[in-house]
């Protein structure tokens, strides 16, 4: 038995195939584009080729993400909150708060001990609390995303950033560069600023341990450190492939239907 999960996000499309025992057999992602239907199908075909199967051999396909409505070959559609809850709880039954930071939106989902969603909040208005913000800041600082994560951890200085908007933040970063502030301290300031936005949103649902972080930004250890500090947490659970949790949740839910 094969089940596929697709997560058609604003910036990246993630796909994976699991078997009847929920083992991930293969996964792939690519940049989302104009026709996400074709992009998703190509990704799935590549996964099938890797596994030596055809698309027709996949029993069912589930889709989530902001571009889910454009996918015409999926059997089921799921909300982003639902797939986050499903996938994280599958790995760790002690998680009560899930924080997801995607490219263009972030969300917080609170679970009860059965894994049912009891509270949720989505912020899709302001890019200053999302992965796109980090990508833009990394470009402005002329460093890679990997460096962005590592440099932040080397900083011992806190510089407050006042800008709450991605446009103003960029000019604030440029003036910090011109005034000779060390890159590592600027990177930390950016991570602190994003963490502060996400933390304010998370506080709406009263953060309860254990807390899991998913989405691409979970790979930025500097951001994780800032978020832990801001929420006064000793630990944040991060799954192995935090950016695939949406696709995994969609595949898990599909497997149950």
């Amino acid at each position: 038995m094969y089940f596929a999960g697709l997560d058609v996000g604003a910036r990246y499309t993630k796909t994976l195939i699991i078997d009847g025992d929920a083992r991930v057999l293969s996964k792939k992602m690519s940049t989302s584009g104009f026709d996400n239907n074709i992009i998703s199908k190509n990704l799935l075909n590549n996964l099938c080729m890797e596994l030596g199967i055809t698309l027709e051999e996949i029993n069912k396909i589930g889709v989530t993400g902001c571009g889910k409505k454009n996918i015409d070959f999926a059997n089921y559609e799921f909300s982003e909150t639902m797939v986050a809850a499903k996938s994280v709880f599958f790995f760790n039954k002690n998680v009560r708060t899930i924080i997801e930071v995607g490219a263009e939106e972030s969300r917080v989902v609170k679970l009860n001990s059965d894994g049912r969603i009891i509270d949720s909040v989505i912020n899709e208005k302001c890019a200053a609390g999302t992965g796109t913000f980090v990508e833009l800041m990394a470009r402005t600082l002329e460093i890679t995303l990997k460096d962005f994560s590592e440099l932040s951890m080397k900083s011992e200085k806190k510089i407050p950033m006042n800008a709450h908007c991605i446009v103003f933040a960029e000019s604030e970063v440029v003036s910090l560069i011109h005034s000779g502030v060390d890159k590592k301290d600027i990177v930390r300031a950016v991570n602190d600023a994003i963490a502060s936005r996400i933390a304010s949103m998370a506080r709406r649902v009263k953060v309860e341990a254990e807390v899991a972080l998913i989405g691409g930004l979970a790979k930025n250890s500097g951001f994780v450190f800032s978020l832990k500090n801001n929420l006064e947490l000793d630990n944040i659970v991060i799954p192995d492939d935090p950016e695939y949790m949406g696709a995994f949740g969609a595949a898990l839910l599909t497997r149950e239907l």
């Binding site: 009891i118 509270d119 912020n123 208005k125 908007c165 709406r204």
Partner: protein, 93 residues
């Protein structure tokens, strides 16, 4: 399930919070008719319950859409909150 619809930006937090466990037993769904800006709709939540939701397209504009119901002085009771017999709706601003 409690759902916070809205956003935060540099000027503040603009969320309408709905306890949709109450909506699932509310037959009338009076909030939908009461809102002069028609921002609410009936839909199924993740657990297949018929609840009230804030429409997608207005979630990023709540501060401006609700402005008419929220004059800065002498604010009257909000039509949506008044229409709800279960106290399921709260506004953060």
């Amino acid at each position: 399930m409690i759902v916070h619809y809205g956003y935060l930006d540099a000027s503040g937090e603009y969320f309408i919070t709905v306890d949709d466990s109450k909506c699932s037993v509310c037959i009338e769904k009076g909030c939908i008719k009461a809102c002069p800006k028609s921002i609410f709709m009936e839909s199924e939540n993740d657990y297949g319950e018929k609840v009230m939701m804030v429409k997608d397209e207005v979630r990023k504009m709540l501060k401006y859409i609700c402005a008419e119901c929220k004059p800065s002085v002498n604010r009257p009771p909000l039509p949506c909150v008044t229409a709800c017999p279960y106290d399921a709706i709260t506004h953060s601003w």
